[in-house]
Symmetry: C3
Subunit: 305 residues, 3 copies
Amino acid sequence: MKHLLAAADLSPTEIRFLMDAAKKFSTVDSAPLLQGKTIVNLFFENSTRTRTSFEVAIRKLGAGALNFAASTSSVAKGETLIDTAKNIEAMGPHAIIVRHASAGSPLFLSKNVSVPVINAGDGFHEHPTQALLDLYTMEEKLGDVKGKRVVILGDIAHSRVARSNIHILRKMGASVAVCAPPTLLPPVPETLGVDFAYRPEELLREADVVMCLRIQLERQNRMQLPSLAEYTAFWGLSRERAKLLKPGAIVLHPGPVNRGVELDTEVADGPRSAILNQVYNGVLVRMAVLATVMDRPKLEKWMKG
Amino acid sequence: MKHLLAAADLSPTEIRFLMDAAKKFSTVDSAPLLQGKTIVNLFFENSTRTRTSFEVAIRKLGAGALNFAASTSSVAKGETLIDTAKNIEAMGPHAIIVRHASAGSPLFLSKNVSVPVINAGDGFHEHPTQALLDLYTMEEKLGDVKGKRVVILGDIAHSRVARSNIHILRKMGASVAVCAPPTLLPPVPETLGVDFAYRPEELLREADVVMCLRIQLERQNRMQLPSLAEYTAFWGLSRERAKLLKPGAIVLHPGPVNRGVELDTEVADGPRSAILNQVYNGVLVRMAVLATVMDRPKLEKWMKG
Amino acid sequence: MKHLLAAADLSPTEIRFLMDAAKKFSTVDSAPLLQGKTIVNLFFENSTRTRTSFEVAIRKLGAGALNFAASTSSVAKGETLIDTAKNIEAMGPHAIIVRHASAGSPLFLSKNVSVPVINAGDGFHEHPTQALLDLYTMEEKLGDVKGKRVVILGDIAHSRVARSNIHILRKMGASVAVCAPPTLLPPVPETLGVDFAYRPEELLREADVVMCLRIQLERQNRMQLPSLAEYTAFWGLSRERAKLLKPGAIVLHPGPVNRGVELDTEVADGPRSAILNQVYNGVLVRMAVLATVMDRPKLEKWMKG
């Protein structure tokens, strides 16, 4: 595992190893496994939240973070992705974390630089560290996800979070169903290899996990979304709708939450919500990913010690 | 003292302790009392100057600073203050420094997160570290402020700096007078518990300290400010007007200075000016505040050692 | 050498010392010569690339970098350069790196603060660390530049890179020729003390180094540039034109490259290109500059040890 480009690339063994490493990191305040290393946050899309999570992970590993916000960089002057990357590589960092609006950018990068590349979200393609932290949170709350039912609710068609989660959950033996208005489902939902329904009521009773996706409000202007009120009325996880859930079922959301749209405040802040656990676990999982791709022997030794 | 939310909350004993700690910090280049800690700068308002001062203080204490500029964050996507704060807290920082346009935000935050919160300016309410550094500078230049006369000149109505200073100076036994055009005084100035005058000439002769506040140029458009030329002519601390001051009286300004508006360049750069001392002392006072709220026992031990 | 303000100020002995120091830094991963020091990046012009190079250099020397992006600072509120600098100085950094649109700003700064000032580009004046890294790259590829022919191609009139290179190359005994459309040459090119030609074909055959400058696309709007297509056709380093070069001649570019404008992709990525070496060497040279102006005795001791 030289890079982390896509959840689709990971074997169940690799996923298990990352979960074990993250769990081990949860037992310590910090673990200077990457002391003296420099890691670049190359973000072509704005995301203070994900960038900060990586930055905290980098520091807890004893490494240094270099933030390279592409909007204020040469990219604005028309530089190509590959030139930006080559230039950054020439400055000698030890890994590059990349977020980019184009699907496949991290793969492209990984073929053109010699250091590990970590995908922090690429277009509609994948967001593998999000899916890993979601898995970690499910295991923390429910134990092994094998045989568990995970319902993903929201904009499936445009969600890299859904895509990465489907890959990882299927590999780990969970059963996945997705639910969205027809305009926010892929044209042929069967190709995702999961069950689907147009109405949440068909799925909620059997769910162990409900993952509400963030609604990108700009979709409404593109005619892909009914009115927000309609979305909330029919697909939002309201207090009423949440009552359909089994005891013990949990609610996830990748954040930031549009309160009152994807889910009611009572649900977001209620006992089923594991949303803040996701944020906390994000740091642990990102520590695991960084330490694995950058110095797995040292990580394994530390995990045993 | 778990948080620093408002100068109004501080007792004279606490203020004295912070002054003593700041003075002790002035004798060393750095003091790694907070090694391994991470402190978030959560700035919803732009302020490179205050943020940098905190950042230098954080580093001198051996801690790490995480800058979270809210304009480029999820807040721009409509996230609520409380969600932003909860998310930041979930990433595991050890304190949060917050600047926000709404009065009371730091208090609100402090009730919703478990780590210390430091107010770096909230609306028209308070800016306690500014008032503490002002006090430190006065004591450095004039000794005990008890019985000293401090004249605050400028936009009293909208100034959190004035408000925090009035609280601290009164607690420490100084006598305060404010002076502004009628539109820039509160409707009932007596409620501030200080003397006031509409013309600086009435106050300058007796002043030990003149604190010129920054004029927010946008007030002019809101009809709260006479023309700048008129403000300068009647309320600016001109070279001529500064001649009214007693020997030894000092001039302060929270910066950045509008030269030729609030005070003449000759005054800003003259022997009475302690403006750059304020900047220098700002780092010391912020070190004192951070060390006090985050690990007072360690600070006290270090001060004795 | 208290500051680095201009290549014009450097003696051949000082240049040689900086090259030797940079070479020594190329043999180590890091060298904590400036541990505990804080260095401010005061950038009034956006330049993620140069700033990042300095930031990497600062970290490799064990120091801390404080980024002070002037667009988001008090400067936007109308503060003067000198006030910004005095305020930054009062916070106690150990050196200031400045980039500013006005020629002479670093000199002005150096006369008003007590810490070393390093020029990271000032208007059309100088960019000395760029010229030093260019020299380092030439020496690395070609050995001593004495007697070598360096051809600079592009917007000579507005290029601080060209100006700094001409100073350094002449001091080190290289022979320099410049080439540009008449509108992008200074009115009296002879004052540069170098040869010049309007067409690259007159110079390329004899060149040991071709340095292509970046074309600022906005010049086209100001009528200083023929159409980009015309520029590329007559002054671009095309694959065809590059065939005129001697074996062993190298191609440099300060970046970011406008591929297909200043030079063809085949040339930028071809065996003659030393463009990425420039980026890599930039970190080494900046380490040398910082260590020299901030603690030369320690640097010299380290170089011997």
